[in-house]
């Protein structure tokens, strides 16, 4: 379960589902948010690129998918997302790569009668188990209703 009381410091999970970053995940989301960098949507320009052949996935599309894949297990009963820090994009992600998400509970802190803050470290890995994303995320989570 995913109420505040359920999170224990040191808990670690690999989340159940992965997702392959196709045109919908990469191009749709990049263009929806007005990211104008053509490294994310011009295959011709990226052929033979020093970052590896082909289009690169926008780092925050990677980050949003990794946090998304972790959301059911971490924020199904969230009141609000509070913040993010130490976000690092450690390897490039290319169109067609597959992402998986992993999480560790770093801290839990009481925040009044109805909710508490939980701090998670997340990792995103690709189909070769290379870390492509990491970050620390704080979420305000409801207590279990009495």
């Amino acid at each position: 379960m995913t109420w505040f009381e359920d999170f224990v410091v040191g808990d670690r999970w690999r989340h159940a589902r992965g997702t392959t970053v196709g045109e919908v995940e990469s191009q749709l989301l990049t263009k929806l948010v007005l990211n104008t960098a053509q490294a994310h949507f011009n295959e011709h320009a990226m052929t033979g690129s020093p970052m590896g052949d082909g289009r690169l996935v926008f780092g925050l599309v990677t980050g949003s998918i990794v946090i998304g894949l972790a959301t059911q297990d971490t924020a199904e009963h969230a009141v609000a997302e509070v913040g993010l820090t130490d976000v690092r994009f450690t390897s490039p992600v290319h169109l067609g790569d597959t992402l998986y998400a992993l999480t560790e509970v770093l801290a839990v802190e009481e925040a009044g009668p109805d909710a508490g803050q939980v701090r998670f470290r997340h990792w995103g890995i690709n189909q070769q188990d290379q870390v492509v994303f990491e970050g620390v995320r704080t979420v305000l989570v409801k207590r279990r209703p009495v």
């Binding site: 948010v33 960098a37 998918i65 946090i67 959301t71 997302e81 509070v82 913040g83």
Partner: protein, 160 residues
């Protein structure tokens, strides 16, 4: 009249080089973006962000919101997107984000605008044609309320 040579047309280039990022320089980013319910549903479902506040308006209203809550990662992606032409379209990988705070919720129909200030700019030790730049970015809604702020760091290509 010379023959038409389409390859001779000069490119209208976009983006800034490392030399443009002097400490303290502020950029008011272009356009703004009104976030729609459709944006939020598309982004949230494509990223598997199964928090009912983003997907179920009845539940969001029961918890005191006027409508569904816009997924904060969509807010972040949009604010970074608005800033790309000024900050990072000139080339160089996205290194990271620090000290990000989501100050208040965004709801469908809200309009986001963004601005950034250069807080750090230094040469890259390993890549002579590249620098490392950190910006502080703030985003506001249509009521001029602070929605989000963070520090973002990129490698940025130098002019030559």
């Amino acid at each position: 009249m010379s023959e038409l040579d389409l390859r001779s047309f000069p490119i209208r280039r976009r983006g800034n080089a490392f030399e443009e990022f002097t400490i303290g320089r502020r950029f008011e980013h272009h356009w703004g973006r009104t976030i729609t319910a459709g944006d939020n549903a598309a982004f949230t479902t494509v990223t598997h962000a199964y928090n009912p506040l983003y997907l179920n308006a009845e539940q969001a209203r029961a918890e005191g919101h006027p409508d569904v809550v816009v997924n904060p990662m969509l807010v972040l992606c949009t604010v970074v997107g608005l800033s790309v032409e000024d900050l990072s379209e000139g080339g160089g990988p996205f290194l990271g984000i620090d000290d990000l705070t989501f100050h208040r919720p965004v709801h469908p129909g809200d309009t986001l605008t963004a601005s950034s200030t250069v807080v750090e700019a230094r040469d890259s030790a390993s890549r002579p044609n590249t620098g490392i730049v950190t910006w502080h970015t703030e985003a506001h809604n249509q009521r001029s309320e602070l929605v989000l702020d963070y520090r973002r760091t990129n490698l940025v290509a130098k002019r030559s």
